[in-house]
């Protein structure tokens, strides 16, 4: 043989060059803009969805009683601390009376003095009565002058009037004493209902203005969640719907509740609808006021309709729709969407029918000319 060395060389060269060329062709076609786009496909199914609304809110007391003095004054003593359970009518503290007690004593003395004055007036009246009667009898036997009798009658009238005045004076003074006592009583801070002391805003010795709260009592039976739902996703919110409340401190457990009220005034700035959700049974232990809570209001299940995942929805030229697989090619089909559930299922009102094949996930933005490579799972996505 003449050529074995050359043939071996050629062979070796071919072994290197051919794979290199194949690799090059593969690289040129399978990467970059020429490569087909990996996509996954799903089938439109007919199923019912149960829409739910998600909102967040804070735990608040339905009734908060802010207890404070009705006039400016200084806090004398407070008998309760934050966290104490109080009964209705229980005295929580007292404002400093300053001179009120002295004024009560003065008033009591004044009443006594007035009573003495009444006795004096009564004695005067009795005497005037006796004199008047005696002179009347003397006049009837002509034993005295008419003028004297008239004088005696006038004295009797004056004494009677003085007696009435004294009597009424006592009534006035007693009423004034009552007023002072009422004022004195008003200085005591009394719990209007049974509840929990939530705040103690001033300590003894503090001067507070009229109307300023010293102690805040909340009604523990009436806790609710002041919840905010974005208006765009508040469709179907109604009184009485069941709700699931997840407190931030107890993320693993959901507490049952229901919608008590939808506020007639929405928040215009934040574009949210406000609603009050009450607990079906007060959670134990009681959550602190102001704690963040996630609320999910469950709406009724809707009748079955063609349903897709919201990941399939695309926007092309401002139209919302899905990429439908028609005879191996892609067609963009605009759709009208209905209600959706929180797990991402959305009902299609128009545009798709059950059994249609649509693109669910895609690596890149698709166009009608895109070549797609249908896969079970896109590369890089872990199961």
């Amino acid at each position: 043989m003449k050529f074995p060395p050359l043939q071996r060389r050629t062979l070796a060269l071919v072994v290197i060059i051919i794979p290199l060329l194949l690799l090059f062709i593969y690289v040129a076609l399978r990467s970059g803009p020429l490569a087909p786009i990996a996509a996954t496909v799903s089938t439109v199914e007919s199923r019912s969805v149960a829409p739910a609304l998600a909102g967040i809110g804070t735990v608040q007391a339905r009734f908060t009683y802010k207890i404070g003095p009705t006039v400016a004054g200084r806090v004398k003593r407070l008998d309760v601390h934050v966290g104490d359970i109080v009964k209705a009518g229980q005295v929580l503290g007292e404002m400093d009376a300053v001179d009120l007690d002295d004024r009560v004593s003065a008033q009591q003395a004044a009443i006594k003095s007035s009573e003495a004055a009444l006795r004096q007036a009564a004695a005067k009246e009795t005497f005037a009565q006796t004199q008047a009667t005696r002179y009347e009898q003397l006049l009837s036997v002509r034993g005295t002058s008419e003028e004297t009798v008239v004088t005696k009658r006038q004295e009797l009238a004056v004494a009677s009037a003085a007696l009435v005045a004294s009597r009424e004076d006592i009534v006035r003074l007693r009423a004034e004493l009552e007023a002072l006592r009422a004022q004195r009583g008003n200085l005591r801070l009394v719990a209007p209902v049974a509840g929990l002391v939530a705040a103690r805003d001033a300590d003894p010795g503090t001067t507070v203005v009229a109307g300023q709260a010293v102690i805040e009592v909340i009604d523990t039976a009436g806790l609710w969640v002041d919840t905010r739902f974005d208006q765009i996703s508040a469709e179907g919110l109604a009184i009485g719907l069941p709700a699931k409340i997840v407190l931030r401190s107890r993320r693993s457990q959901a507490v049952a509740g229901h919608v008590l009220r939808i506020e007639p005034r929405a928040d215009a700035v934040t574009e949210e609808t406000l609603a009050k959700i009450v607990f079906n049974a007060p959670p134990v232990p009681l959550p602190p006021l102001g704690e963040l809570a996630e609320v999910t209001v469950q709406l009724g299940e809707l009748p079955a309709a063609p349903t897709i995942s919201n990941a399939a929805i695309r926007t092309v030229d401002g139209k919302r729709g899905v990429w439908k697989l028609v005879e191996g090619g892609l067609t963009f089909t605009p759709v009208v969407l209905g209600r959706s559930s929180l797990d991402g299922l959305v009902q299609v009102l128009e545009g798709l029918s059950v059994g249609d094949q649509i693109v669910l996930y895609s690596e890149k933005t698709l166009s009608a000319k895109s070549r797609i490579n249908i896969v079970d799972r896109l590369p890089g996505v872990s199961p």
Partner: protein, 400 residues
């Protein structure tokens, strides 16, 4: 007629192939560098594409929201929505920050997307797994480049978000992966300080006698509440009706709303021309240097290959081979070397591209240009070698 070049290559094929592969690696690096530059530009473009907007309405006289910070009230979109030609207006916030998952954190651009349904401007246009956000709070769609998985619990500021969907190639102009969260959460995240800072601010406000007046109960609470709420967004994304031109819609917003509006072309100019201008120039500079170095190395290789066989060339001349045949041999060898180098380079670049932390985009047009550049360089390099070969004295074959 026998191919002189072919015979010569076969004669020392191992050396030739290895030289070609070495050259290929160098070309590969050059192509990758071009890919890095294209990738940077593409990062900016996908950012604009993914927002799905035709117009960007931002704070007056700013280059927001990507290149500069911009802040506008969050109820402004309503008045923009009512203008003629506006099909859709949506608030959006962008904030680059660290997003925590467990012990680690990832640098990401947190995008606050307006409430609505999928397809609203600002929402991720497509996913690779999971679903779009359905709850108004505490759900996130993350880019796969963050390394997050479906169901992960990620921490942004003090709130925890559940990853419900994954995207691909949703990046900021600097290549940071995006994390989409509901707008209200994002507004809070943008503004919310850590708890210590809030406490300190409360204390400072409380110490300010102007706000903490004994005679006005509730004033301090109101002031603190107003300090910790945020009603700003970075931009309003506007999608226009197809029968209007961007300029027709943008003009009334500029004139009557007294805001700055950018259309797609202007935004691209800002991102590509301003935001990444310096780093792009840096890469371009590198590219030029690499190209020059590659050209020089190709020239040296061909020159030395020719010099190696100067004796054989002298023999060829001695037996009366024409100059054309000798030049042809050298030129063909140079071109074959260039082709092998290019093929190896293209393959290397393609397989190396996904390994880079930032996106490397290899455009077919770059490859084609690269191919012709390599060919031209090879031809030019062989000219020097040819001159050397032709000048050789046939006597050298016998002498030595």
């Amino acid at each position: 007629m026998i191919s002189l070049a072919g015979r010569d290559i076969l004669h020392a094929w191992g050396k030739f192939i290895f030289t070609g592969i070495g050259l290929g690696l160098l070309i590969g690096v050059t192509l990758t560098m071009a890919g890095v530059y294209r990738g940077m530009v593409d990062d900016g473009k996908v950012l604009l594409d993914n927002s799905g907007a035709n117009l960007w309405v931002v704070q007056r006289d700013t280059l927001g929201p990507y290149a500069e910070s911009s802040s506008i009230p969050d109820d402004l979109w309503r008045s923009i929505r009512t203008l003629p030609g506006v099909a859709e207006a949506a608030n959006v916030t962008y904030l680059t920050m660290q997003v925590g998952r467990g012990e680690k954190d990832v640098r990401a651009m947190v995008v606050g997307i307006a409430a609505g349904e999928p397809g609203t401007s600002g929402w991720p246009p497509q996913l690779v797994a999971g679903r779009q956000i359905t709850r108004g709070h505490y759900e996130a769609v993350a880019d796969i480049a963050t390394g997050f998985r479906l169901g992960d619990d990620v921490k942004i500021r003090r709130n925890h978000y559940t990853v419900v969907g994954l995207t691909r190639r949703m990046v900021s102009s600097s290549g940071d992966p995006m994390v989409f969260i509901p707008l209200k959460d994002a507004q809070e995240a943008q503004f919310l300080k850590d708890n210590d800072a809030i406490l300190m601010q409360r204390r400072r406000t409380g110490a300010n006698p102007a706000f903490n007046r004994p005679g006005v109960p509730g004033l301090l609470d109101a002031v603190i509440a107003s300090q910790t709420s945020n009603n700003s967004v970075n931009a309003v994304l506007v999608r226009i009706q197809s029968e209007y031109s961007p300029q027709e819609v943008a003009e009334p917003i500029r004139r009557w709303k007294r805001l700055t509006v950018y259309d797609r072309a202007q935004m691209e100019e800002i991102l590509v021309g301003k935001l990444i201008a310096t780093s792009a120039k840096q890469i371009a500079m590198f590219l030029v240097i690499l190209a020059v170095v590659s050209a020089a190395i190709v020239a040296f290789i061909i020159y030395t290959l020719t010099m190696d066989k100067i004796r054989e060339i002298a023999v060829l001349k001695l037996i009366g081979t024409r100059n054309r045949t000798i030049s042809g041999m050298i030129l063909q060898q140079a071109l074959v070397l260039g082709v092998i180098g290019f093929v190896v380079g293209k393959i290397t670049a393609t397989f190396a591209a996904p390994l880079f932390p930032k996106y490397v985009l290899l455009m077919p047009i770059d490859s084609i240009l690269g191919f012709f550049a390599v060919m031209v360089i090879c031809v030019l390099a062989s000219v020097v070698a040819i001159r050397m070969a032709l000048k050789v004295d046939p006597a050298e074959a016998i002498g030595g």
